[in-house]
Amino acid sequence: MSGVERALGLLRNLPRVSLSNLKPLPGSRYKRKQRIGQSGGRKCGRGNKGQGQRNTLPRIGFEGGSTPFYLLIPHEPYYRGIHARRQYPPLSLLQLQRLIDLNMVDVNEPIDLTTLCNTKVFQVNTRKQQYGVNLTDEGADIFEARVHLEVQWTNEQTIAAVEKNGGMILTRFYDPDCINAMQDPAAFFKKGRPIPRCKLPPIDALRYYSDANNRGYLADPEKIREARIILAQKYGYALPDISEDPHFEMLMRRKDPRQIWFGLEPGWVVNVKDKVILKPTDEMLKEVLQVIIAGTITDFSSNSASKVFIMLTVQKVELFEEHLCRRWSHLCIFQ
């Protein structure tokens, strides 16, 4: 019997509730009288005589004549907000080459964060503000694999080392929710949550990911093609023709900016136990999930007007995210 039923059942056997037998909860009506200080209000919490009572205490930080702490320690403004900055734990080309040589990574499939995390050699912790992998150029001289890479941060030498061997490299942003899903998909599927829709990069990362020189996933593919040629000329190697590669289709595969795994779309639920994929059937939900902003593929670094546009779309997308969450909380209509 619930508390409500018990209370109403009690009332049945009690006298009629009327104006004469109401009472507030005990202790709710009057405040307890304030008790003033240990000395009964005489010293007002300021102690007995001296600087404390006369308000002539030395300035804050004064250490009685010795060089104070705040003058002794040098000023390091570049560490401001370091706890909140995005971190990209490094992985070198040398390590990657080793993983490939030990058959821990299959070069005939696209290599993304999930592939790297599955080796258990590389790990990402979103609690430490880590947003994925930074592929560094250590071992660029001995790197000889032809790979399709998707990393979160990299530099020019690394890009050159990968493209020299006929590979493809792309920098791609994932939000922490997606990173969590990608680093351990088995655990994620076990939770029964729908696959998250990847968010667009934050404003300060937008320039990086829409720059063709960084092979950003939001950059214009035409400009990326040009940048590959320019980089080859800069480092003095002949760019291999990937169209003759037997794995050409694999190399040209691209994820949608909202997608985190090939072949799976946001909103789907993967049931590993029963080996089924559950897809939403609700029309409105589908509509929301299909929001792929028309502008995301084009180049946003070129003019300022399009920057404004993408800022607007980011806001709009946030709205959609909210809407999506609400829909999820109410609807569980699946096949």
């Binding site: 508390g3 209370a7 009332l11 009629r16 509730v17 009327s18 104006l19 109401l22 507030p24």
Partner: protein, 313 residues
């Protein structure tokens, strides 16, 4: 008090007022009663009406076979709580004939009885209109006291500078009441709605809630209503609630002459009146409206009230 001019108008149009089925009521007594009293001759007789208006014959009750209804669809039913049930009754006959059985929303008629909220609701209803006019002069506002009553030294008496000092009899008051002081505040909307739900739940739990099809009485005689209420064991006082503020003529006349029986529209429903009367009688449309309004209030998203906030501009 009713302004005299209105009564004069009433006296002039008394036949019309009587014949119409609409009676307007005020807090003290209806205009109707006042007008009748004014028209009485010294020997207490009411003069002959030029228009014979009152139908004294009891109309035959014609209705479809019983039960009229055995269930009622409630809006937004809670998933795991079954609805409460109540008889549908009628005021058309003195004996308690059950017209049917209806469902009541458990969130309105079976919520936790918050006695403390009932207290705060009634407290607020009493206090928000109260204005404290008490006022006492301080030493500056009193007359006189400007000069020193006697010299500072040499008289052997205590030192005093003014005869209106608060130490003196007939002196000023230091921290006296400085009226008029308003005690107005608004109880939060949530608390008001919750208070109503608690009161309705208590009325239902203690068998003091009755649902009727309408407030139509066969006669305007107060004795009929009194007999009905007594025979059904509805207690000493009754509150009849309808969804509109235009009540049928018969019940208006009948309740007007019995003080503890009162009629009220849904928009006037309040915790104080609910608790003041022993029995609550709701009509079906009133029930619908009460449930709709309280459910809306329960599930609305405006938690923050700004209108009567102390800091609002």
């Amino acid at each position: 008090m009713i302004p005299g001019s209105i009564i004069n108008v009433c006296v002039r149009h008394l036949p019309l007022l009587r014949s119409s089925c609409v009676v307007f009521r005020t807090a003290q007594c209806s205009i109707m009663t006042s007008a009748v009293r004014l028209q009485q001759t010294p020997d207490g007789m009411i003069p002959e009406m030029p228009i014979a208006a009152v139908d004294t014959e009891m109309p035959a009750v014609v209705r479809p076979p019983l039960p009229l209804m055995t269930s009622r669809t409630i809006a937004f039913p809670p998933p795991n709580t079954p609805p409460k049930q109540a008889w549908l009754e009628s005021l058309a006959t003195i004996d308690d004939e059950k017209l049917g059985l209806i469902d009541l929303h458990p969130d309105i008629f079976a919520t936790f009885p918050r006695i403390d909220l009932l207290f705060w609701n009634t407290f607020w209803q009493k206090i928000y209109k109260h204005i404290d006019y008490s006022f006492v002069f301080n030493r500056m506002e009193l007359r006189g006291g400007g000069h020193k009553p006697w010299a500072q030294k040499g008289t052997g008496r205590a030192r005093h500078g003014s005869i209106r000092s608060p130490l003196w009899i007939r002196g000023g008051k230091t921290f006296g009441p400085r009226g008029p002081k308003s005690y107005f505040y608004m109880l939060s909307k949530m608390d008001r709605a919750n208070g109503l739900r608690s009161a309705l739940s208590i009325k239902y739990a203690q068998d003091n809630l009755h649902i009727v099809d309408s407030l139509d009485l066969p006669t305007d005689e107060p004795d009929y209503l009194r007999e009905l209420v007594e025979s059904r064991g509805w207690g000493l006082s009754c509150l009849f609630v309808d969804d509109t503020d235009i009540v049928p003529r018969n019940i208006a006349l009948a309740t007007d002459r019995i003080k503890p029986y009162n009629v009220m529209p849904v928009y006037g429903l309040n915790v104080y009146s609910l608790l003041k009367h022993e029995t609550l009688v709701l009509t079906l449309p009133a029930l619908e409206k009460i449930e709709e309004k309280l459910l809306l209030q329960m599930h609305k998203a405006d938690h923050r009230e700004k209108k009567f906030s102390r800091f609002s501009t």
